[in-house]
């Protein structure tokens, strides 16, 4: 949920929000394509995949979006506002897959480990989601 970032004033707390995208197993390939397209179009955006797993008949992908440092957030800095706009855009773009705020997964969980691996190699997202869709 939070991490520390080295800035000019030393370590600053950074706020990240978790966004869960939960397509049904049947929609997983389409959802993977949509997520990949968004991530590709926003290479500089502070978004990362932090979890992939299943829940019931859904494949759940958790994205972490960095809103900014607490200083930027309380001051309403432009970068923090842009991050909020990006969260809104993500929700709008992925509306078919029930995007919802969620807590960030435990870094030691299996979902988080898969998510971290996929975040390093985003091209594996579709494959991972399809494999999990088969288990869902």
């Amino acid at each position: 949920m939070r991490e520390s970032k080295e800035g000019t004033a030393g370590l600053q707390k950074v706020v990240e929000v978790g966004l869960r995208v939960a397509p049904t197993a049947a929609c997983a390939p389409a959802a993977a394509a949509a997520i990949s397209q968004i991530l590709d179009s926003r290479l500089d955006a502070p978004v990362r995949i932090v979890g992939i797993g299943t829940e019931g008949n859904r494949v759940v992908v958790t994205l972490a979006i960095t809103v900014g440092t607490t200083t930027d957030i309380t001051a309403g800095a432009a970068s923090a506002r842009m991050a909020v706009v990006m969260v809104a855009d993500l929700i709008e773009s992925l509306v078919q897959y029930d995007p919802a705020f969620t807590a960030l997964p435990d870094p030691d969980s299996v979902d988080a480990m898969i998510g971290a691996r996929v975040d390093e190699e985003p091209e594996t997202l579709a494959r991972a989601m399809c494999v999990l869709a088969g288990q869902a």
């Binding site: 939070r2 929000v17 966004l19 957030i73 029930d98 919802a100 705020f101």
Partner: protein, 386 residues
Amino acid sequence: MSATTFGVESTSGMPDSIEFDDDSIVTANHRVSRRIPDMVVGDLTERDILAMAPAMVCDRIHWSTSEPMDLTKLIADLPLEARSRAWSDGQSRIWVDEGQGQQARELIRQWCTEHDVEVMNMRVESAVPFRDVDSIPGDLFAQLLLVTTDWLYPRTFAIRRKLVADLELIDDEDTRSMMYLFISDHADRFDADRVGKNGTLNFATFMLGKLRKWPQDAARAAWGRTLIDDHMHLNQAIDDSIATLHRRPTEFELASRMKTSVSDLRRRELAVAEVSGMRNYDSIISGGMGEDSVGVDAADCVDVSRDGTSFQVDAMLTKAIIDSIMTPTSSRGISPADPMALAAVYLSFWGELSRQELAAELGVLPKTAAASVQRVTSQIGTAGIL
């Protein structure tokens, strides 16, 4: 006043004696500080004014009534000398000469019965200090309170911050008048003849000492002594653990530090959390809106857990939240895409932070953080999502 020499214990690492200018003093913590000046009203010093109502030792009888009670008639009917003075808590108080407390209580009880006045929790405090400030002519005493408040108010920022942060329904603008009433209530207990190592205690110094415990006492009065003490000790134990372990303590470590069992620790934490939940009651959790809402109002037949975690409901709620955050509220000067609102709502409901923790996380006042959350939840409620 000439230069003064103060003796300081050599074990503190300081010289055996230090000479200071007229206004310098050594505090109880061995810090050099400035003497707080005596208050002055017109040509009269605080000592002149308070000398008009010398300190006495009395027995005090105090009680509560369901309706405000005029004590003038009661005092006139009592066969012994009695005095009264209103404190801001609205309780009835009468002071009588030392040793007459029990007798006065029975007389007062009898009088109340005869006059059909319902009294509650009547009790006697023996040998308490009292000043009959009504005997001070004109508005001198009120002026003294005002001058003292004016002097103390700008110098007690941290105390006022804590008061506002800890207690609901108290705003910054309330604190000045509350401080005036606090000083008025405590004026009885000021002993102008008390002598310490820095000389005689003056009125503002005495009040400053009392004000340091004001937020804690006010919280105890509002939420109960046991609960506030538990809250304080829990936070203190967690802070101490973080300072030594550099991490949040486990339940076992916390219980050990508090010299209690884990089950007792859980019971205390639950009690504190329940009150914290009441203090930070929010419509997004209960589903109710406005002053008429009463707690959680889900019907028995609804599977709250399943309903609350369903993907569609979560998505709808998320959409409503982000729409609210993206909506400008020009009336309050908040522009669209409010990152503070997003961070506050997210950390409250998905980060599971209490209002106090949220405020600490964001480095703002609890009320500021709560206002951000409230703005979003109010808009969602207005939109009929909840």
